[in-house]
Symmetry: C2
Subunit: 115 residues, 2 copies
DNA sequence: TGCTTATATAATTATATGCCTATATACTAA
DNA sequence: TTAGTATATAGGCATATAATTATATAAGCA
């Protein structure tokens, strides 16, 4: 740790557990670069809307991501105020960018959020 | 990522899932500074020996930690050759040191491994 | 050899997880 | 208000997880 407070093992474990799922980890890696709404994740993961919603909810419940309603859509983004934010970022920086998912989304005309 | 290969989302998720357990995460934080054997973890976590063994086994199975027999004991340590080693290290550096567990162990005369 | 200690494995049980379908809620626009 | 789209929630089911107890394996030593 360089010039930062260590977070508790408990809080870190809670965050890491959520990150230990392939779908959520990919969502987080995408959110590191782009805000997204649920319907975009549904497209990307080819998964039912309730399944996506539940993944998103778990991350929102512990404060890992935050939501912002934009008209009909609810746009999700990483929560920089989350206590484990720095740890999450350092993990995400070890992972490959997921731009192909965004490009695919745009190609299909399904991209919603604008940043 | 600075001058390193990104690891796959899949492999990262597998590692993070194991790290998402409080007991294993604490073990890893300890192993970041000290090699340990199973019987030391049993002391530290006040948990049955088979439970400790199973946690250790899961981490060993994916290559996250490695073992080395030393007489009667099997000493475990972080595996620097593990593909997600750098990611793991950056996570562990966000966590508080666990020296108190080692000190407690020494105080009880239960410290085994010597480094 | 036989006893002790350390560790691993097997079987069981309770709980957690992740997916689905069905349904409810909330906003937009006609 | 009514229809359409986006999202959330509830309930069910199959699988995964983490703990336990009982037992097996392996090394050290008398």
């Amino acid at each position: 740790m360089i010039a930062k407070e260590a977070i508790s093992i408990d809080k870190a474990a809670t965050a890491l557990k959520l990150m230990g799922d392939k779908t959520r980890l990919t969502m987080l890696r995408i959110l590191a670069d782009h805000d997204c709404c649920v319907c975009e994740f549904v497209e990307i993961f080819d998964m039912s809307q309730p399944s996506v919603s539940q993944h998103v909810r778990k991350m929102k419940d512990i404060g890992m991501i935050k939501e912002q309603r934009r008209g009909q859509w609810i746009v999700y983004s990483l929560n920089e105020a989350f206590e484990s934010y720095d740890m999450i970022q350092s993990v995400l920086h070890h992972l490959p960018v997921q731009e192909h998912h965004l490009e695919e989304l745009i190609k299909k005309g399904k991209r919603i959020s604008c940043e």
